[in-house]
Structures are given as C-alpha cells and as structure tokens.
C-alpha cells in the first residue's frame, strides 16, 4: 500500500512538472506569453513564434560572454533558416544600447528588449543563478527541452537541431 502511495505521488509529480527540467509546465508556458517590445517598439512574446523550434537567448550588452556567443547564433540562424529554427534574443538592457549593438553586429534574428522583468521570465524558465547569458530550447509547441547557463557550445545547438526531422 505504501508503495502504491509512493508511486502515485511520483507519477503525480511527474505529470505536473517537466520531466526533463523539473520546471512547472504551466509556468513555463505562461512565461512564453510575457510581453516585450521589439526593436520597432511593437509588443511581442515568445509564443508569437509557436510552430517553430526556438532557441531563446537572454543576454545584455554589458555581459561579455553574451556578446561572445552572439556571432555563433547569427551564423547558425543563417544556416538553419530553412529548418524551422528561430533564434530569439531577449536583452536585459537599455533599448538604445541594444539597438546600437544589433545594428553594428547585423543580428539576423528577432530581438526583444526587457529589463528586470525579462530576468524574472528567465528565472521561471530555469535560470536559477539569475545570470546571463541564459538560453532555453523550445519545441514548436512550447515545451522546454533543454537549457544552458553561460556560453552555449555549438555542439549543443546542433544536437537540438539534429533531432528535428
């Protein structure tokens, strides 16, 4: 009987959380509806790109490792443009500095701008250290299948894309 209770509790816990990440699935989905302004001043949300595989990168211009990995994302976005993969950058930063950086570095994927609220969204998505860069990998339906704190190795992005049929 005790074993049944244990099994029941475990199964319930598994159903309520993402089995891979241990995160609350409904909170993760809700976070994807948070509104951020894009570079043109329009309100956008991560779920706007539902239907595509997404690599969502939280970054800032004051964060050297963030700037170090962006050229990789630019290159891979170009390479994967026909694979239904979209990189999304969410800057935890001042809008003017972000616009200048994006212009100077020819970033070819959507950039949204947030501040402390963007960092809180990253925390809901698993950013336990509240640091940058932080990157999550989402399926077309918004399931969070992987995350990374710090500079993302190219191999990790390629593994994610290689699983797409």
């Amino acid at each position: 009987m005790i074993a049944c209770v244990v099994i029941g509790s475990v199964v319930t816990g598994i159903l309520m959380s993402n089995t891979r990440t241990g995160l609350d699935v409904s909170a993760v989905k809700g976070a994807q509806n948070a509104q951020f302004q894009d570079l043109a001043g329009n309100w956008q949300q991560i779920s706007h790109w539902d239907g595509s595989y997404r690599i969502v990168n939280f970054w800032a211009t004051w964060c050297p490792p963030c700037l170090e990995e962006i050229p990789l994302f630019v290159r891979l976005q170009g390479e994967y443009k026909d694979r239904n993969v979209t990189f999304i950058g969410i800057a935890v930063d001042d809008a003017d500095r972000v616009r200048e950086f994006v212009r100077d570095n020819e970033i070819n994927y959507p950039i949204l701008i947030g501040s402390g609220d963007a960092l809180r969204i990253s925390e809901i998505l698993g950013n336990k250290r509240s640091g940058l860069p932080f990157t999550v990998f989402l399926t077309p339906s918004g399931d969070l299948v992987d995350m990374h704190s710090g500079i993302v190795p190219e191999s990790k992005v390629r593994q994610f894309v290689d699983k797409i049929r």
Binding site: T19, P65, G116, R129, S130, P133, D146, S149, G150
Partner: protein, 157 residues
Amino acid sequence: MCQMTRMLIVNQCIVALLVFCCFPQFVVSGEVDAPGASNFYTLSATLSKGNKLALAYDIHPCCYLYKRSFSFQALDSEVIVGHVSFPESLRHYDEFFGDVEIYRGEVLITLDLDTSRVEVRSDSLSISVEHQGCSDEGVCFLPDRNVLRFASLPGLE
C-alpha cells in the same frame, strides 16, 4: 523488523531508483553548487566618525566585480560622496571590452563623505552602492544596487 516492512522498504527503494534512472533531474551546465546573483558576494558597511564609509566586499572565489561598474550616491540627504579610495585592482582581459580592471576576494573601498551642507547632525543617511560582476565560467550578473541606511550621522566632523 517484520518481513512485510522490509519488503515495503525494498519496494520503495526500487521505485526511487527507477524514477531516478528514467527521469533524471536536469542540471544546468556549470551550475552545480555555483553561486548566483544573490549570493556571489557579501557586503558590509561601517560608517565612522571621520566622515568615512568603509565598504567591505567578500567575493566568492568563482567571481569578480568590475571596477568601472562601481557607483556611489547619497540619497535623501545633503551628504555628498567625495573621494573614493579603491584598492589596487587586477587586470582582466575581456574579448569584447579588452583590458579591464576587476576585483576578487576581499575588497575594501572607502568613501569620503562631504557633510559640510548637513544642518542637522541627527539626519539619517542612505547611500546607494552599485556594482556588476561575472563568474569565471562565463555567467554575468545584472548590475546590483544596494541601499545602505544609517539611522544617524555619527558625530560627523
């Protein structure tokens, strides 16, 4: 212990093992026991009679603070932050920012407070202290702001 109880314990262990094997908890790369934005440093402040405010940082060995990121400002009082004495910094190379100055470990920063415009010595004092840091494994923390509040100016000279 009866045989029934032993069997139940064994069953639970097997269930726990199966769950662990089938559903391993995700560990964010480089995150094992690493400090985050809220605990990679401690800060204590001492306000002395000599119109000096001593800020003692203790930074986790994994991390550093940028010297250029420090800023200090008196809030809601006539006190002005004057000269700031920084200890000798370390040189650090950032791919994007080039050579920068950083601090690690224990750091003592002293602020001279100009109180010549203060009329009531019992005024409270609030000082805003800002800084920003990163960890060696490539995670940076949002610029952090602490407001240090003192109940009164202790016999400022």
